[in-house]
């Protein structure tokens, strides 16, 4: 009788644990995630059309780039992580420029003078333009820079990367964009600048 009673007590304690431990686990899980993080809803959707004036005075629209995979990078001269990735971007452009790929840099929240000095400093040769009104950045939901969008030849966003990029990732994601493979989630670099 006494033994039976103790078994009952243990059974109840185990049931209690079975209910409480997962609950505590879920709450503890809260510490490993960032509640303010929102995956970009743009991935897999058609890229919003835009028109920018390039630093050499020419005009460029997204429609002009149809049929090619587009590497669209938002940057500013005052942004340290942009400087960190600048050389890798130019090197990638040198590798891919003869293929069906276009690189386009869009400078936001910057002065003309600083932006030109930046392009000169890193010997950037791919086309770059300024988003004077900030409209393009708003359309693409740019929150901090650098942010990079990969667009496939059909004009669909296949991947978004927040923060600075490395050359290996550029190669992989450009290849996916060329083939129209859409990533499930945006990627995150180690650091990002917010003004």
């Amino acid at each position: 009788m006494r033994i039976a009673r103790e078994t009952m007590a243990w059974r109840r304690i185990i049931i209690t644990l079975a209910v409480l431990l997962p609950l505590i686990g879920i709450l503890a899980y809260g510490f490993v995630r960032d509640p303010r993080y929102i995956n970009s809803p743009l991935i897999g959707r058609p890229a919003t059309p835009f028109a920018v004036t390039l630093f050499d005075g020419k005009k460029l629209t997204l429609d002009d780039l149809k049929g090619k995979a587009v590497f669209l990078n938002f940057w500013a001269s005052w942004c340290p992580p942009c400087r960190a990735e600048a050389r890798d971007l130019e090197a990638a452009w040198q590798t891919f420029k003869d293929g069906d790929v276009v690189f386009l840099g869009i400078d936001i929240q910057d002065t003309d003078e600083d932006a030109r000095a930046y392009l000169k400093e890193f010997n950037i040769t791919y086309p770059n333009g300024r988003d004077l009104s900030g409209k393009v950045a708003v359309d693409y939901g740019v929150w901090g820079i650098p942010e990079t969008f990969f667009i496939d030849p059909q004009g669909r966003i296949t991947y978004k990367h927040v923060g600075s990029l490395g050359s290996a990732l550029i190669t992989t994601k450009l290849d996916e964009a060329r083939r129209g493979i859409v990533s499930a989630k945006e990627g995150k670099g180690s650091y990002q600048s917010v003004r």
Partner: protein, 656 residues
């Protein structure tokens, strides 16, 4: 110096708390009973030291001792004296100290009042207090220390968050904390009863007033929070189902359930495990609430600082849950042998249903609050649960609760006879159906408002009808007048009539919520000087903008002349306040309340380029005022229920 005294007091109090935990354990050995007596000394020591620490921080705040980081962050030289004092709960560290202070005041009161009684339970009750207190003291001493110094000492402080510079902020946090902490009293008695295996009704009878008092403060804390949100935040609402608001509301649900179900245990010796579970849940939720608020694990519009304190709270929450429910599971054998329900139509079953509804509401709100976490952990999808979920699941539950509020107090114990049902409910039911027809004729055609207002009328009618019968009986028996009959009834049966009054207050609050949820209208427009905007019977004329430099901010006010059906009601001036340290302006909405509706004006923006052009949002929210009136009625009802009236030959009745 002040900081040293404060910090040293916290550490010394922690030593007393540790002693308060160890002493009863030693005392439980045969021949060591004298150690029991020292548990009281441990509480009194903590009481003295924590009071000293709190006064040190207040002294630091009042004298703007900027060498203390907390003071530098929460006051400036320009801060008026009362906001310096309320700076005590302006941020995390101070709030925790306030919590601990209130806790130890409650513990001290318990130790003092029950000096001669409950000799068996008291050492363990005080041990539970010491455990909770030790946790807060560890946090205050080592994790978020309010007495941390800052070097170099700044010339001026950063000041309170401007939103907190409001009279309601002086009352909202202390009220809420008092409610939270108050629940520790029944929890401590419940745990002591479990530890000792002394599971009769003594702990429930003893803590009844404490629970009711805690419930009252919890209710007021939430209501004043809603009031603050409505008056200061300037968005026209008072409740947004934000995680932090839910955290404050959730303990209220099991506390309310507990208040009702303990009556069943007192009278019928039923629901023992249930009552213990409810009080454990209610207490755990007060810790959970603080964990949620301070850990930053959920996205909330209430931007609170996060830090290691979240982890510490989670560990404590785990200990509380596992320890309490583990003990309950272990002792469950002693809790058997309760009689079964005699009938489904009885007060027991009405109270039981009330409990089921309250716990269901708690579960749905809890689930909605932590659902973003569950969803991401289990399926990796981000979701956000908003007001539509909470409204659609809780409204039907709360309506059912309103119905039970009408039935519960009048239906007989054990088994309601036809006679009982007919006598108490026939006329109120008929009258409320007539009321429903009247509402229908008066163009209240939507289902939920129609049902809601009808049920509210039903509750009021049952209460009035029952009271009227009782008054008539007293007039006949004792020949008293109406008012003296009411006074005698209330004094002879405090709990019943206090409860009735509280129920009437709840009816008013729900009426305000139902009216403002169902029938609010709003309009927004950009106006030039001399232009006007109409909404319902109100007509609003824009008379121009004014800018002025205030001590702490620059203020832009719009002058709007309000007409009610052509009658000039004067000018209302909503404003936008620009604080130098804040990126976006803080709004100051203004409103004009009357018994039928509130007119609420928000200055949403103005043009910097074109002079004298402003964007105005107007809301007309019916019956909001009744929520605040309901709060006052609850205050009255609680006083009637707990006031220790002097009874003939019995002395003061602190005990029951």
């Amino acid at each position: 110096m002040t900081a040293t005294i404060g910090h040293a007091s916290v550490i010394a109090a922690l030593l007393f708390a540790v002693w308060g935990i160890i002493a009863p354990v030693i005392g439980s050995r045969p021949g060591r009973e004298r150690f029991y007596a020292s548990t009281r000394a441990a509480i009194m020591g903590q009481f003295f030291l924590v009071t000293l620490a709190s006064l040190s921080l207040i002294y630091g705040l009042v004298t703007t001792d900027f060498s203390i980081k907390y003071v530098a962050f929460n006051t400036t030289r320009a801060t008026p004296i009362y906001y310096r004092v309320t700076g005590l709960w302006g941020a995390l560290e101070g709030s925790l100290l306030l919590w601990e202070w209130i806790l130890i005041i409650f513990s001290g009161l318990v130790a003092w009042i029950y000096k001669e009684r409950h000799r068996e339970l008291m050492p363990w009750v005080l041990m539970i207090f010491s455990i909770v207190s030790a946790f807060f003291l560890v946090v205050l001493g080592f994790v978020s220390n309010p007495f941390e110094s800052v070097f170099p000492v700044p010339a001026d402080g950063r000041g309170l968050n401007p939103l907190l510079e409001d009279a309601n902020m002086m009352t909202h946090p202390p009220l809420l904390y008092t409610g939270f902490v108050g629940l520790t009293v029944p929890y401590a008695f419940a745990m002591a009863a479990l530890i000792k295996g002394k599971l009769d009704e003594a702990w429930i009878v003893t803590t009844r007033r404490w629970t009711l008092t805690a419930w009252f403060f919890l209710t007021m804390g939430n209501l004043v929070g809603a009031w603050w949100s409505y008056h200061v935040l300037g968005w026209g609402g008072y409740w947004a189902w934000d995680p932090v608001e839910n955290a404050a509301f959730m303990p209220w649900l099991p506390a309310t359930a507990f208040l009702h179900s303990v009556q069943v245990q007192e009278r019928r010796r039923m629901l023992k495990v249930w009552n213990l579970s409810l009080i454990i849940i209610a207490f755990s939720l007060t810790i959970f609430g603080t964990f949620l608020t301070r850990s930053g694990i959920l996205s909330s519009i209430h931007a609170f600082s996060s830090g290691p304190v979240g982890t510490v709270f989670l560990v404590f929450l785990a200990i509380v849950l596992l320890g309490s429910f583990g003990l309950l599971a272990y002792r469950a054998d002693h809790l058997k042998g309760q009689p079964e329900l005699d009938s489904m139509v009885s007060r027991e079953s009405a109270f039981l249903l009330n409990n089921v509804v309250l716990v269901s509401a708690l579960f749905t709100i809890f689930l909605g609050t932590i659902f973003p976490l569950i969803s991401e952990a289990v399926v990796g999808v981000q979701v956000s649960v908003g007001a539509p979920y909470f409204n659609s699941v809780t409204v039907p539950l709360f309506l059912l609760l309103v119905f039970l509020m009408g039935v519960g107090p009048m239906i007989a114990w054990r088994k309601a006879s036809w006679d009982n049902l007919r006598r108490n409910f026939l006329w109120p039911s008929v009258a409320s159906l007539l009321f429903a027809l009247l509402l229908f004729g008066w163009k209240v055609r939507d289902f939920f408002p129609l049902l809601g207002f009808t049920l509210l009328a039903f509750v009021v009618l049952t209460i009035l009808f029952d009271t009227a019968l009782a008054v008539r009986a007293r007039r006949r028996i004792a020949g008293e007048g109406i008012f003296s009959a009411l006074a005698t009834l209330a004094r002879k049966n405090q709990r019943r009539y206090g409860g009735f009054i509280v129920h009437l207050g709840v009816v008013l609050i729900i009426m305000g919520i139902a009216g403002s949820m169902g029938y609010s209208v709003e309009r927004e427009a950009t106006l030039r000087t001399g232009e006007s905007l109409s909404l319902g019977r109100y007509h609003i004329l824009f008379e121009g903008l004014r800018g002025s430099q205030q001590p702490t901010h620059f203020r832009v006010e719009g002058d709007f002349r309000v007409f009610n059906k052509g009658e000039d009601l004067g000018i209302l001036s909503p404003a936008l306040k620009f604080f130098p340290a804040q990126q976006s302006p803080v709004g100051r909405a203004v409103h004009r309340s009357n018994i039928s509706d509130d007119l609420y004006l928000i200055l949403s923006g103005f043009s910097e380029l074109k002079e004298n052009q402003a964007t105005l949002k107007i809301l007309v929210r019916p019956m909001v005022m009744w929520m605040w009136v309901g709060g006052l009625v609850i205050l009255l009802g609680t006083i009637v229920a707990v006031w220790p009236f002097r009874q003939k030959g019995r002395g003061w009745r602190i005990e029951d």
